[in-house]
Structures are given as structure tokens and as C-alpha cells.
Amino acid sequence: MAERRSGFGVAILSVILGFLVVGLFIVSLGVGPVWLPPGSVFAGLIGQGDEVAQIIVGEIRLPRALLAALIGAILGLSGAALQGLLRNPLAAPSLFGAPAAAAFGAVAVISFGLVDALSFALPVAAIIGALTSVGLLILVAGPRAGLLILILAGLAISSLAGAGTALALNLAPNPFAALEIAFWLLGSLEDRSLRHVMIALPFMVLAAALLFHDRRAFRALTLGEEAAASLGFGLTGVRLRVIIGVAAGVGAAVAVAGTIGFIGLVAPHLVRPFVRYDPGRLLVPAALAGSALLLSADIAVRLIPSNGEIKVGVLTALIGAPFFIALILRRRHDLSGVTS
């Protein structure tokens, strides 16, 4: 049967992507100023072999690889869920203002000199920022708002958070603080610890549960909002869960890694044809593709020769933005003809 065929396809795709993620994960543990072969990586992971290799793998590279995999996954999942909600392949997780608000939360604590850029309070502030943006969004747009109002209100909140971040840079107590903020904003996975993983993880799990909950609604939304509502989906609740889920997930990601753009836009797009464009089946493969993309990008920044490591957020933007433009060009015809 056709349905089994598509379910089967999704399972195979997920397994292939899963292997890819595991492979990239192992590579990510081996790549850096000190190159380690897979054998030393495995030995290091289980606490055997060369002591230096153990420290490099377990304390320096493992948190980094874990964060790349988790953040990539939550960005891919958020992008897929938002694109399903909005029925638009150009939607990105930054749409409702959560990443900008999370960044502002983090920057505020750095600029007040409360903490340095890698301490514990910073991710907490960023997550508070992201969740505050959701509260503000619902306050501004109203609890039963339509999508256009939500998007516009999100844009306004993004701008406000952006202005706050700019003000913090502007008023930074000293050039070092300003530099710290600027670098932090670029988005990076360098020098993170397992504590960062533990801070972000609960919010990401919450986000994944919320976003995955509505996969059937995303499928129904293929027919538009009215038909989806008539098929028994309460769209107010769906919108709320997606917005909160994206804020929690992306907020947690920004909290530990700064702003890393375009993964949420690109990952769903890459796997969509393989799930026969089904927005419900897209979620898991999009999350895995996001993981693979961010792991690859984070490996690439360690391989590209430059003085000082290129920040991974800069690399994803450099690749993602032209991809976005290409996507718009390809869809320009359908987009300009949209009437409903």
C-alpha cells in the first residue's frame, strides 16, 4: 500500500540520517588542533587509553559535539514545525522573535558585568528572555490571534530585542565587554561544558514534546486553517504550543551557543521531498538533518584555515543566506501569485 510505502521511506530516511549524525558526531570528537583517530576517540569516551586524549574527548569535544547535535536537531524540528503551522517553506524559527529576545537576555547580563560569557547565569537569562518574548507576543497579539498578527507582533518584538541588544553594546562598560558581547552574538560551540548541555537539555526536551505533539495538525493544515479546524484540530492550541515550543527550544539553543541561523530553514527543506511533502512526517527527519548540518558546520569551522576559528554561526549564515535567496528565487512565481 501507498501509505506503508511512505512510512517505510521515512523510516529508512531516518535510519540513514541517524547513521550520518552518529558518524559526524564521532568525526567531531576527533577533529581539532589535536587529531584523534576513531580508536582513540572511543577509548577516550569510555575513560581508557591516553590521558590527554581522554580529557580532549570527554571534556572539550564531547560537550561541543553534543550541543551541535542537540541544537541542530531542535532548530531543524522548530523550522519544520513552524513551516507546517504557517504552510510556508520559507518560515524560520526566528519568526516570532524568540532568538532575538534570548540574545537580548544573555547580552543584558554580560553588559551589566554580572557574568562572563560562559557562566551559568547567561543561559538562564537567555531562556527567560525567550519565554518573556512569548508572553509579550500573546499580550500584544491576543490569545486567539491569527497568524499575520502573530508574525507582525513577532517582528516588533524582534526589533525591540534587537534595539535592546544594540543599546547594551552601545553602553558597554568597556571595549572588552563590547567585544565579548559581539563575539557571543556570532554563535559558537567552542569551550562549552557538559553543564551547558544540562542547562539546555530540559528545555529542548520540553520543546520537542510540544512540537511533536501537533504533527497530525500540521498534516491537516495542508488543506488550510478552516478545513483543518473542521477536521477536529483546535488551532488556537496548536499555535500556542508551537510558539512556546519554538521559544523554549530556540531560546535554550541561543542560551548556550549564541545565535545560529538558517539551520531551521534549510534542514526541513532538504528532507521534504523524501517524506513526500508530508508536514507531519517531516519532523523527525528534519531534526536529524539539522543535527547533521550543525555537526558538519562545526567540524568545518575547525578545518577552514584562518587566524582564529571562524564562528559556526557566521558559517551557517554565510551558507544559509544564499540558500534562502535561491529558495525565494525558485518559489518567486508561486509566492507572487498567492491569493489565499
Binding site: 498534516r219 491537516a220 488543506l223 488550510g224 479546524a229 473542521s230 477536521l231 477536529g232 508536514p279
Partner: protein
């Protein structure tokens, strides 16, 4: 027919949208097996009436479906009893036709992983509407008429007793207009109920058991086609001078002049 309990019972229904009274004091009783066509000039509230019955608009008044209040039903239960075909037949992703039709099974738990009952219903709906031959094609690549039939197949696949269809024939050539209305008529003959909004008075007169005329949010006429579609009513409601010719049981309406 009078002792059959109503499938749908609407009493004192009013709808206020953005401060405008779109429907006022609507009382309608619909029985199983009826094919009801709602007609009326643009802006009369026809689409709003269908949406209200579909349960996707805030309303005042009472709507009972099979004797239970519409708003008391769980969303899924409501969706199993009422299938709604909106205007326009929009598809946002290029899903295969069979996957679109399967969306009609969502209220019954299907949608992607179909049970054999789901599979049967989907197949039957595709055969009925003549879209089975492009089951694997992307829906966005079909013509307007083909898309309209896919949309109808999705609604049929739900196997809901009440079908609400908003301009189901809008993009269709004459042959498929007749085919689509024939499918809806058969649904009613088999004991289901259909409420359709149509603009074509001739098609309405030819297929409907009963015609409800809406004007400015109120029911201005309700009865069989020959009772309702009179020269006087067409002049008052639509502002047209029409020729009415009897052909068999059905009146044939020919809009002739603007009054």
C-alpha cells in the same frame, strides 16, 4: 418524513463577525437524506452559515447535531459527524492525491498510517470522484477541476453523515458540475445529508430537494425548488428579472435582466 428526528436543528442562530451581524435569527431543521442547497446574493451569509454549522465560528443560538449540542461534542467527534468542504480547494503542499484524500481520515485516527477501513474509504472516495487514476500525482500539479474533485474526495473519505460543501462546482466544467452534484445527491439518497452553497440557480433547482434562500443574514425562503424560485423572489432577493421555464419537475431559471 415528519417523525424522523432532525439530523441538524438550528434555532435562533446569530453570528457577529468583527462587529457586523452576518447571520440573524436563523431557524433551520434538516432531516437525514435531504439535499439542501443554500442560495443568495453575494454577502448574504451563506459561507458563514456553513462555517457556523461546521463549528469553526463563534455563534449565538443553538445548533444540535443528531440531538447533541454542537459545542458539547469533542472536536474529533464533531469532525466525524460533519465534513466541511471550504471554497477554493487550497492545497499548501504538493502531496500526492491519495495522501490528500487520506487527510479525510484524520478524525478517525488515520491520516498517514491507514487501517484497512481507512484504505477502503480513501479508495472508494477516489473512485467515486474519478480521481483514482491520478492517485500518485502531486495535487498542486492538477487542473482546477481535478483539484476540486480531489477536495470532494477528501470530504467523502471522512464518511461523515453531514456534508457541508461551499461552492463545490465553482471551478468545474458543465460535465463535472453534474458529476459532483450527482455524487452529493447520491450521498443524500444513501441516507446522508448534504448542505451545499451554490451560485448557479439552475443547478440548484435541478439537484436540490430543498432550497434555502438567504438574504442579508436572514432566511427569506425555504422549500422545494419550484416553491421557492419564483419571479417575485428572484426580483426581490437577487435584483434580477428571470425567465422561469418548467422542465419536468424542476424549474429552469434563466437570469435575463438586471432590475
Amino acid at each position: 418524513m415528519t417523525d424522523v428526528p432532525g439530523l441538524l436543528h438550528i434555532a435562533g442562530l446569530s453570528v457577529l463577525l468583527a462587529g457586523r451581524q452576518v447571520l440573524a435569527d436563523i431557524d433551520i431543521e434538516v432531516k437525514p437524506g435531504e439535499f439542501v442547497v443554500v442560495v443568495g446574493p453575494n454577502g448574504a451569509g451563506k459561507t458563514t452559515l456553513l462555517k457556523a454549522v461546521a463549528g469553526i465560528l463563534p455563534v449565538k443560538g443553538s445548533i444540535l447535531i443528531e440531538e447533541s449540542p454542537l459545542l458539547r461534542l469533542s472536536l474529533a467527534e464533531r469532525a466525524r459527524r460533519i465534513a466541511y468542504l471550504p471554497q477554493g480547494h487550497v492545497f499548501h503542499w504538493p502531496l500526492a492525491v491519495e495522501d490528500i484524500v487520506a487527510l479525510g481520515r484524520l478524525p478517525r485516527g488515520g491520516g498517514a498510517d491507514l487501517s484497512s477501513a481507512d484504505g477502503e474509504a480513501v479508495k472508494k472516495a477516489m473512485v467515486q470522484t474519478g480521481v483514482a487514476e491520478y492517485a500518485r500525482r502531486a495535487v498542486t500539479r492538477l487542473s482546477g477541476g481535478e483539484r476540486a474533485r480531489v477536495a470532494l474526495a477528501r470530504v467523502l473519505a471522512t464518511e461523515a453523515p453531514l456534508i457541508l460543501a461551499d461552492e463545490p462546482t465553482a471551478a468545474l466544467d458543465p460535465r463535472y458540475q453534474l458529476i459532483v452534484l450527482g455524487i452529493l445527491q447520491r450521498h443524500a439518497r444513501a441516507g446522508g445529508t448534504v448542505i451545499a452553497v451554490l451560485h448557479d440557480l439552475g443547478l440548484a433547482a435541478r439537484h436540490a430537494d430543498r432550497i434555502i434562500v438567504l438574504d442579508q443574514g436572514r432566511v427569506v425562503a425555504d422549500g422545494t425548488p419550484s416553491e421557492v424560485l419564483t419571479k417575485l423572489l428572484l426580483a426581490k432577493t437577487f435584483g434580477i428579472d428571470a425567465e422561469i421555464v418548467a422542465l419536468g419537475d424542476a424549474p429552469v431559471i434563466i437570469p435575463w435582466n438586471v432590475i
